[in-house]
Amino acid sequence: MSEHILAAFVPLVDCAVLVAAREKGFAREHGIDLSLVREPSWSSLRDHLNLGHVDCAHALAPLPIASALGVGHVEAEMLVPFVLNRGGNAITLATSLATEIERRSSQPPSPVDWAKGLSRALMLRNKPLTLAMVHAFSGHNFELRYWLAAGGVHPDRQVRIVAIPPPLMVESLAAGHVDGFCVGEPWNSLAVERGIGRIVATKSQLFPRGVEKVLAVRPTLATDRARLDALLKALSAAAAWVDAPSHREETAAILSRQEYLGVPAAVIACSLAGKLELGNGDALDDPDFLYFARHDASFPATHEALWIYAQMLRWGQLPARAELRERAADVFRPDLYIGALGPRATADAQVLGAFDRIEFSARGIDAYLDQFELYTPFVDTHSTP
């Protein structure tokens, strides 16, 4: 008899592994009847997951950590036994703004040059800039903030950062509500295709191999080990299938269907291949722009959870407390991954790199944070002023 599992997702190219697990029969092969529910926003996905309306979800990596710590919303225990993808995000600026920045730079700008250029552009403007990301607890929020700060722009003092669900991003840029955004594919490429945006940095440039979406699982599913193991085996097989270049076109065709993304397959295929039009004739060709199985992509390493914890600390989302640090680390569950899929072949590096050459090590979070000039102190929002 097959086990029914309900999973929620947000329409993005990186929901591919869950979709392939269902559509290509990997779930069925492992005795799982996998149903998928499309969510209009990350808040809605989180609520349905927290209250048990779904068993698991395609989640922003920081989201289950925020839930487990009870930050920003209800406290709900959540586990991450599997990483769904790495990379896949990009920062896009409105074409007019990008052109203005480019005019003042002598050479083709690097990602950090764009941020520095934005800092200069800010000084010359009398209108404030609004930049969007997808959720307070998202890799996008941290990527955008880190990138801005590297260019000398304080994300909480010099620009306004708002959250907009991915499918509404391009329209918001077109309507002039935002001047740029950080979002997952295909929404950057669609802005470029419409001529309204330029891609100025990708997650693969900023944080190579950075964790992006994870499988967030409710504890009830995690305690049913046979069921969880079967699901992880199915997802692992699906990830390997999606990762193979020969399956890109079919993956793109499936994802383009109305019930999933409802956008043209050609754009999705480019995102999967890491061949992106950046705007103004520039192009990216990076096979590791977005990937699902290679380089042990699916393994949820504890120090990656702590990298997220460190970003939350830097931007004042959390008070620095040893107890919170422990709980954040415990959300990622390499033991559950190994239990289902066996140990990994490669050794754990424990150090995470970034485009500014500042390395993160879980052993020295305080020393890591001390290297940044720009940060936001934590303010307890629930105490009355």
Partner: protein, 200 residues
């Protein structure tokens, strides 16, 4: 000391649902009710209302925007999601089931919010029922229209009277184990196809 009326903000693109909810809330007690329909420039508009309670459709995509604002904004009063206080699990579950999301200013007495939530939940359900009934009425009207068209075709092409055309439709539908409306739809579609081919 009498408490000032609570300020309730309804964010809903559906004007009808908002009206039904507003109507219900008026009976729930002394409240000041505001409604925002489109969600452009949400932050200054929320700040202008300075609400104690925000009611919003659970599936409204603006919730991500709203929650982010509460994280960073320097609003005088910063509402928090009602689920943060988990002491009333039944109400939370009922709200989610009804598709309601509520944000409540921290420190507000639970009893004052409970009646607002109860009204909201029941009005959301009432709206759903109304919505279902409305679509049933719509489809009943559409069925009647299509059956009339099918009858007219039979009358014209087979020279039948109206009652005979209906009897023929009903008998054929019964024999084929189909709904009369489905058969009528097929008949009308076929007739359009044939008429179309003769036109060209």
């Amino acid at each position: 000391m009498h408490a000032k009326p609570l300020r309730v903000l309804i964010i809903d693109e559906n004007a009808m649902r908002a009206a039904i909810l507003e109507d219900g809330l008026r009976e729930a007690g002394p409240l000041t009710i505001h409604h925002i329909r489109d969600t452009a420039e949400l932050l200054p508009r929320i700040a202008a209302v300075d609400p104690d309670v925000i009611l919003i459709d659970l599936e409204n995509p603006s919730r991500d925007t709203l929650e982010q604002m509460f994280q960073v904004s320097r609003l005088a009063k910063r509402p928090i999601a009602m689920f943060v206080d988990q002491s009333d699990a039944a109400t939370v579950q009922a709200a989610i089931d009804a598709g309601v999301s509520a944000y409540v200013v921290d420190g507000l007495k639970k009893e004052r919010v409970k009646s607002i939530l109860d009204v909201t939940i029941s009005r959301f359900h009432a709206f759903d029922r109304l919505h279902t009934e409305l679509s049933q009425v719509k489809s009943a009207l559409e069925e009647r229209r299509i059956i009339e068209q099918a009858k007219a075709i039979l009358m014209r092409q087979k020279g039948l009277s109206e009652p005979d055309a209906y009897v023929l439709l009903r008998r054929t539908a019964m024999n084929q184990n189909r709904k009369i409306a489905d058969l009528a739809r097929a008949l009308v579609a076929a007739a359009e196809l044939l008429d179309g081919s003769t036109d060209e």
